[in-house]
Symmetry: C2
Subunit: 164 residues, 2 copies
Amino acid sequence: MARGARKPEFYEDPTNSLGYLARLTFRAFGRALQKRLAAKGVTIGQWRFLRVLWVEDGLTQRELSRRVGLREPTTVTALKGLEKAALVVREQSEEDRRRVHVHLTPKARRLRKQLMPHVAEVNRIALKGMSEDELQTVKRLLLKAIANLAEHNDDTIDLPDETP
Amino acid sequence: MARGARKPEFYEDPTNSLGYLARLTFRAFGRALQKRLAAKGVTIGQWRFLRVLWVEDGLTQRELSRRVGLREPTTVTALKGLEKAALVVREQSEEDRRRVHVHLTPKARRLRKQLMPHVAEVNRIALKGMSEDELQTVKRLLLKAIANLAEHNDDTIDLPDETP
DNA sequence: CGCCTATCGATAGTATTCTAAGCATTGTAT
DNA sequence: ATACAATGCTTAGAATACTATCGATAGGCG
């Protein structure tokens, strides 16, 4: 069980730390993507929500938060920006008046075709020289680490089930 | 060369996106670590600098920025906090009066033994169920993605050479 | 020397994200 | 039915990190 256990000193080298590597990876993707999206007038924060809504329009704010992986207050702020940019409209639910459903505008739907190629290109650059098998391993293990820590942190995140 | 190329639609599922997974991983580590460090009165931001300085005391602010992976203005702010917390002192270089060397205080050095076990524990939790080989793959590929994107972003980051 | 450029650090201003706490609405149990 | 708890969203306030820019020092070259 304690198979992969390491001495504390091991983690004094940042490149041995998955948290550190994840942070750098996240920022590197962010910077590369930012440049391309900015040309279309879209921020990274907006893009994250658009990506989810393109696939599943009409989610509530809470569902959105969990899909995107941000806290609810952050979602509120982000949605304000999206609404001001005329990319989404918010509709109060009829059955449960606490809920607010978020819907894309035609303008936002049109962005899908324009933005996704840039996303694919950033990924192409980032993943250059990696095999399909290696990529599968990386994704599976990151999901596992997220799940391991989420359980420990008592967090609620929406991720695909891995124990079907 | 375009071996792993994917259609744009592939990246509409966030769990296919390395950037998304890296962000969640980073945040999950951060939250878990934060709880433990807070008990010792240390913030995550401070911890990042301490880890580097424990191994290499007396770096300049620019060197620190690159080792830690943050921009210089962020480092300036962070060092102010560290100085106020009496964890570092800053000394102007004699040879080159532009430079400022950052040195740990005894208090900061004492924290090393207290903090590292918590870091190791968070890693133990996060990495549960992963083999040594798998971990090596993950780290190697994240470093590769970071390097791929850094080159493309014209970024300067200090990472171990991988083409000796 | 005297000027131009590069480097190091600091500042100003903004964007992002979080925690903690609050309101309104709904569900539940007595 | 009424009180209590849970849910969904919002607000307030703070921390973190960024871009753009500036001031001071150092190095190179005429």
